[in-house]
């Protein structure tokens, strides 16, 4: 798969992704998010929470993984504080995603506050995969608002219908997000370092799953992804001593150059 570049957006002459392509992919994610929002609403009612509280959780926290974790702890009769701790660990990845998307979240204080509130894994991934900063900002706000609306409205629906719906897992919905992130990940795999990071992250996740509590495997995946990328970059440098070789003779693969790093300002020229 390494030589398949999934380039989801052809640019218009203005350099922005085609609006219909953005709308199509954001709409698709809205459906996936809505399915989970309904599941959360239903689950919240199933453990006996007041529908208003269920909706309030989605508005106040707005982070699906941690919301589900909180429900899980409550359902098992655990202390709510344990659910908070678990939820915060799960949400700690937002620091990394917020940092990577930072150039796309700029503006006045109110705007930055709203941007932070709307930040999710999907929004950050979609936005940072865009070819340039302008497209990234557009994607950030379009997907940020659309996915927020999707989550809130679907939570309301789920809380309203209560236990009428069945188990989301029965219809395979739990596979929706890994599948979606597969597609969203591809444009980010721009060089050998990123590809190594993906492999390293996958390995770290499996190891972390066996050893660490909820939320922490992803943090380990971040670390192992970093290490893998660093190792590959170092190997690349080792092969080609830059001082000794004329610039034209350096093969493109030996130097992990990011062709369009503008969206995250990460020119990785060693």
């Amino acid at each position: 798969m390494s030589n398949i570049t999934h380039a989801p957006y052809e640019n218009t002459s203005a350099g922005l992704p085609v609006p219909s392509a953005i709308a199509r992919d954001v709409a698709t994610l809205c459906v996936a998010v809505a399915a989970y929002g309904v599941a959360f609403g239903v689950l919240g009612r199933a453990i006996g929470l007041h529908p208003a509280l269920v909706v309030a959780i989605s508005v106040l926290v707005y982070a699906g993984g941690s919301q589900m974790a909180l429900l899980g702890v409550l359902a098992a009769g655990g202390a709510p504080l344990a659910g908070v701790a678990s939820g915060l660990v799960i949400n700690s990845r937002l620091v990394a995603f917020g940092a990577v998307a930072a150039p796309l979240m700029q503006g006045g204080r109110g705007r930055r506050l709203l941007a932070a509130y709307l930040l999710t894994d999907e929004v950050a991934t979609l936005a940072t995969a865009q070819p340039d900063e302008r497209a990234g900002q557009r994607m950030f706000w379009v997907s940020g608002i659309a996915l927020w609306l999707s989550w809130q409205l679907s939570t309301v629906v789920g809380a309203a219908v209560g236990g009428i719906l069945g188990d989301p897992a029965a219809v395979g919905l739990d596979a929706a997000f890994p599948a979606a992130f597969l597609v969203l990940l591809l444009p980010l795999l721009r060089g050998p370092a990123e590809r190594a990071a993906a492999v390293g992250g996958g390995v770290g996740a499996v190891v972390g799953l066996q050893l660490l509590p909820a939320g922490m495997p992803v943090l380990l995946a971040m670390a192992t992804g970093l290490l893998a990328a660093a190792a590959v970059t170092r190997l690349g440098r080792g092969r080609v001593p830059v001082e000794a070789v004329p610039v034209e003779a350096v093969p493109a693969e030996a130097v992990p150059v990011e062709a369009v790093p503008v969206a995250v300002g990460s020119g990785s020229r060693p």
Binding site: G98, V100, A179, A229, S266
Partner: protein, 99 residues
């Protein structure tokens, strides 16, 4: 601690986490190493979404579903097609009783 105070605590903490990233970066360029970290996190989330069975490794219908999703990606299917492939195959394998 009852539920609502816990929710408020989680909400406040999560908002702080959301603000921390941009606050740490400020006006500067995003450090090069952050991108591989984000890629690692996303790849990790994909893997966990496939094999996480409540804190331990679980190979069930999702593996088939994500396998189908990978195939769909290789066939250059759009996002909706990949998700449908993943969800559909997972549901079918479950219905057939194979995990």
């Amino acid at each position: 601690m009852t539920v609502l105070p816990a929710v408020l605590l989680l909400a406040a903490g999560t908002m702080a986490l959301r603000l921390a990233g941009p606050a740490l970066i400020g006006d500067r360029e995003v450090p090069t190493w952050l991108r591989p970290a984000a890629v690692g996190a996303i790849a990790g989330m994909i893997v966990l979404g496939t094999v996480d069975g409540g804190g331990q490794l679980a190979l069930d219908a999702r593996v088939a579903g994500i396998g189908a999703a990978v195939l769909a990606v290789a066939l250059r299917a759009p996002l909706a097609g990949v998700i449908l492939a993943g969800v559909g195959v997972t549901a079918l394998v479950r219905a057939a009783g194979w995990g």
